[in-house]
């Protein structure tokens, strides 16, 4: 399973490649008639990615056509599905949990340099996230 890893507020968040149509660079709009949502706002995080900060302005275009502003891209990683550790539902304040689990990101090397990636990341379930937050997925 391949995931795309982003950093937001010091935490790692990732999406499965199959949950993403493409990544939009800073300044790229999702296209006419399509909407944008902000991951930090949906998760109730404040001040983690100020509006206009280009480094955090990468968006994941979801199959529904919604562009989810994810944060700063960290790269792609290949994970074994057995590495997804589920998070217990009782630790959440919300009934719906928008995370498939927590994953360990393998620290790979490219061209002799280690990629600077989050060591651990929360694997998002975008459908649950958007539905729970009142956004039509």
């Amino acid at each position: 399973m391949q995931v795309l890893v982003f950093e937001l507020g010091g935490n790692g968040y990732c999406l499965r490649v199959e949950d993403v149509m493409r990544i939009l660079a800073p300044g790229d709009g999702p296209g006419e008639g399509l909407e944008t949502a902000d991951l930090g706002s949906l998760l109730g995080l404040k001040g983690v990615a100020p509006p206009g900060d280009q480094a955090y302005d990468y968006k994941a275009l979801l199959p529904s056509g919604l562009a989810l502003r994810m944060g700063a891209p960290q790269g792609a990683a290949v994970l074994d599905a057995t590495w997804i550790l589920p998070l217990p539902g009782y630790m959440f304040a919300t009934a719906a949990v928008p995370f498939r689990g927590i994953v360990e990101i393998p620290q790979t090397r490219r061209g002799g340099r280690a990629l600077r990636m989050a060591h651990r990341a929360l694997l998002l379930d975008p459908e649950v996230l958007l539905r729970h937050m009142g956004v039509d997925p």
């Binding site: 935490n11 790692g12 927590i102 651990r120």
Partner: protein, 147 residues
């Protein structure tokens, strides 16, 4: 929240967990380990008493404020930046939870006045990791099993 003092066998060994003014004695068999408070991952949308999760032996273990177990102390007391402590991992029937503590010590026998006594089951029920068992239900189930 825990509100009862669990009877303790005389001479039993307890681990006293301390955080702020709270001291909580737990049977030593219920404390899996006490480890440095490092490597949390904060989790958005978690309950306010959850500090984050740790990965321990292939499981995601929620870590709570110890104060959240005390009805007298507010779970809203802030975690001060730079606070360095330990995490005590409490275990019962495979369920695990971590608690941020300032310190811990092992005590044999009477733990002394002012120290609340509990056990892993009661603690894990308090944080929602285990469901409460009606009083006497286990004995009733056992009796039914004998028939």
């Amino acid at each position: 929240m825990i509100d009862a003092s669990t009877p303790r066998t005389p001479g039993a060994i307890s681990v006293v967990l301390r955080s702020g003014s709270l001291a909580l004695a737990v049977p030593v068999r219920d404390v899996r380990q006490v480890m440095p408070a490092r490597g949390f991952t904060s989790v958005p949308l978690a309950r306010p008493d959850v500090i984050g999760v740790m990965v321990l032996e292939g499981k995601a273990v929620p870590v709570y404020r110890l104060e959240s177990l005390d009805p007298q102390q507010s779970a809203k007391s802030p975690i001060l930046p730079g606070r360095i402590g330990s995490v005590a991992i409490v275990e019962h029937e495979g369920a695990l939870a971590g608690f941020l503590v300032d310190g811990s010590e092992t005590v044999r026998g009477d733990v002394g006045a002012g120290i609340r006594q509990s056990d892993a089951r009661e603690i894990l029920v308090a944080v929602g990791a285990l469901t409460p068992e009606p009083r006497g239900q286990a004995a009733a189930d056992a009796a039914q099993g004998d028939r």
